[in-house]
């Protein structure tokens, strides 16, 4: 666990999953900010300056890839770890994400919240 609370921005449109991930990350010592969709995420990110971003792909209006592209263009977010989350798991999504600059890719139904927290912590330690 980090000594100073690391801030994580979770951009996820599914309320049930928002609550679940917020709960788990807070229990694991993170400060959690939730964005309900892509546009909110792009809006909140420069204001809150999170250390790491969890980004859902399938969202209405603006999907995760568009948000990823926009975030990477913002000053200060070129190197921020951004982990894509999805329930699709198709190889072309993984490749597309990597090409756009995603740090990692998780399939939600294949990973428990604890496993996702572990991935985030691993990525932060690599920094």
């Amino acid at each position: 666990m980090a000594e100073k609370k690391s801030k994580i921005l979770i951009i996820e449109d599914e309320t049930m999953l928002q609550n679940m991930y917020q709960l788990k990350f807070e229990k694991s010592g993170f400060e959690v900010i939730i964005a309900e969709d892509g546009e909110a995420g792009i809006d909140i990110a420069p204001k809150e300056k999170p250390k790491v971003i969890l980004l859902d792909i399938m969202m209405p209006k603006l999907d995760g890839f568009a948000v990823l592209e926009a975030l990477r263009k913002m000053p200060g977010f070129k190197k921020t770890p951004i982990i894509l989350m999805s329930n699709l798991g198709q190889a072309e999504d993984v490749t597309k994400g990597t090409d756009l600059g995603a740090t990692d890719y998780v399939v939600k139904s294949n990973n428990t919240p604890a496993q996702i927290v572990a991935k985030v912590e691993a990525v932060l330690h690599k920094k």
């Binding site: 599914e14 049930m16 999953l17 679940m20 991930y21 709960l23 788990k24 229990k27 399938m58 329930n87 699709l88 798991g89 198709q90 190889a91 072309e92 993984v94 490749t95 990597t98 399939v107 939600k108 139904s109 294949n110 428990t112 919240p113 604890a114 496993q115």
Partner: protein, 559 residues
């Protein structure tokens, strides 16, 4: 008498023959016949180019070129008074004439039998012919010149050529009758009639004209024999249009129109009214026949083009629809994937948090139940994954990612996931990794599915004992083996295990659940990584090993 003698020694014009000397009837009978023969010869030769089965094309062309020579030489003979020219051209006529007959007979033989003459027969025919060829330029062929009638004096070789000609006609007749009787296919039978009739009529007409001329000396009147040529052409045209002989689908419009032009043009040469009337009737018949063929051919071409356009349009629409359906399928897969897995993520997530103690401790019994519920949820997740994989495989949309990952980590995750299930059955579940880190390039999620399938099966079909995984690293590949001390497999059934919906016989008693899809998808995923998957078992009750190997760094991964 005097004028006849004078005619023979009359000074010729600057050119060696003059059209003015030629009776119009000669021109009328010869020019169309010769030109039609040349046109057909070129046409049929052109159509045969590039085709394996073009022997009849070549034979017919050659025969018609000989015939055309005969015709044009005859015109020149009629138009010249130079005796040496007449003798030369006439002697070649005697040579080429039987070759027309033998050529047509050869062509008919080839078309009816479907094969060529044997080499021995060809040698025999050559033997019959070569002495004839040697005699042609000598006095034994044409031993003098009749100044009264202005024609050479023929002897035995000329009559020998008639023997060859008659034999050819008889050969065609007998062959056609025999084949007609033997043939059971109606279409082929129908082809034989016009072919035989057309060939025999042409050759008979041609031959009888010459024979009468040789016997009676009435050379002008006997030129009717050449009218057999247009009849022959009509028979061939019919065969081409109806049966597509000579590899020709459609009779070219140019040939038909050219033929019509010729016939009408040649009427210019006919001046004497009594002959005009006599000639117009067959000309009209031929005009009608050619006109009919022309209209039919054109109509057929138009119909075919319309059909082609229609089919093209239908193909375009069908293709468009297929693309739409394909798109719908892809969208459906995405939606189904997302919609099914979202609630599953929630159930699995909260359960795992409860088990981790995020909401307080549970009693032993409660914890045990939670473990079992989580195991079932994991099973459901895997089922959804299997169905989605199969859908993607069936649509050809299985995509394989190419990323580096530690294979031992994957195995560790699988063990953690399946440990509760194994524990419930009192089974030991362990793994041995050759090294701590085995980094390979591939699709970690899909390969995890493969390992999960194999280990899940091993646990399912083992009543007691243990299940263990061995990961071995070789130079260019890794080999993963899942061993179990379970029910084993009948060696005869091993090959079928990896088929879709296939389960080993009697396995339902051991484990009622199981879709028969797990091994099928595992095989497809391993193949997509350019690997191999197999199973080994000493027999029922002897345990089994399910293993696969994949390259560490594949050159390219197909989906």
């Amino acid at each position: 008498m005097e004028s006849v003698i004078q005619f023979c020694f009359e000074e010729t014009q600057a050119i060696f023959f003059a059209i003015g000397n030629i009776p119009p009837f000669i021109l009328y009978t010869h020019l169309p016949a010769g030109i039609i023969a040349v046109l057909i010869a070129f046409f049929v030769l052109h159509k045969g180019r590039g085709n394996a089965n073009n022997l009849p094309n070549k034979i017919l062309s050659l025969s018609l070129f000989f015939f055309a020579y005969w015709v044009f030489a005859n015109v020149i003979i009629w138009g010249t008074v130079m005796t040496d020219v007449i003798m030369f051209l006439w002697s070649l006529q005697i040579l080429f004439e039987p070759m027309v007959y033998m050529g047509i007979a050869y062509m008919v033989f080839n078309m009816l039998s479907g094969h060529d003459l044997s080499f021995k027969i060809k040698i025999l025919i050559a033997a019959l012919f070569i002495p004839f060829v040697l005699i042609i330029p000598t006095k034994l062929n044409l031993f003098g010149f009749n100044l009264t009638e202005c024609i050479p004096i023929e002897t035995y070789p000329a009559f020998y050529s008639y023997v060859l000609e008659v034999s050819s006609i008889v050969f065609i007749a007998i062959l056609s009758i025999v084949r007609y009787r033997k043939e059971s296919d109606i279409t082929t039978k129908k082809k034989i009639i016009p072919l035989a009739f057309g060939s025999i009529f042409f050759l008979l007409a041609f031959g009888s004209g010459n024979l009468f001329g040789s016997l009676t000396g009435e050379w002008v009147k006997t030129q009717f024999g050449l009218l057999g040529m247009p009849i022959f052409a009509a028979a061939l045209a019919y065969l081409v249009v109806k049966y597509r002989i000579f590899n020709t689908r459609l009779l070219s419009t140019e040939v038909l129109v050219g033929g019509l032009w010729l016939l009408v043009f040649s009427l210019i040469f006919v001046r004497r009214i009594e002959i005009i009337l006599w000639i117009l009737v067959p000309t009209l018949v031929l005009l009608i026949a050619m006109g009919y063929l022309l209209i039919r051919t054109t109509k057929r071409e138009v119909k075919q083009r319309q059909q082609l356009e229609r089919l093209s349009g239908e193909l375009y629409e069908a293709n468009k629809k297929l693309k739409e359906l394909d798109q719908l399928k892809t969208e459906f897969l995405s939606i189904a994937s997302h919609q099914l897995r979202t609630p599953l993520s929630g159930i699995k997530g909260y359960l795992s948090m409860m088990i981790d103690g995020d909401f307080g401790k549970f009693s032993g019994e409660q914890a045990g139940i939670l473990d079992r519920v989580k195991a079932e949820v994991d099973r459901l997740v895997r089922l959804v994954q299997d169905f989605l994989n199969v859908s993607r495989i069936e649509s050809g949309k299985l995509q394989i990612a190419q990323l580096d990952f530690n294979f031992c980590d994957i195995v560790k995750t699988v063990i953690t996931e399946l440990e509760p299930t194994a524990k419930t059955k009192g089974l030991e579940l362990t793994y041995i990794c050759d090294k701590d880190q085995i980094i390979i390039t591939g699709d970690s999620d899909k390969l995890k599915d493969v390992v999960v399938n194999l280990v899940d099966n091993a646990i399912k079909y083992t009543k007691k004992g243990k299940v263990w995984i061995e990961i071995k690293k070789f130079k260019d590949e890794i080999q993963v083996e899942v061993h179990d001390s379970g029910v084993g497999v009948n060696p005869k059934e091993i090959g079928k295990l990896f088929n879709k919906f296939q389960r080993a016989k009697g396995i339902a008693k051991v484990s009622p659940s199981g879709t028969g899809l797990g091994l099928y998808t595992a095989k497809k995923i391993v193949s997509a990584h350019h690997g191999d998957i197999w199973a080994e078992s000493k027999g029922e009750g002897e345990g089994s090993v399910f293993a696969f190997k994949i390259p560490i760094k594949p050159v390219n991964i197909k989906g």
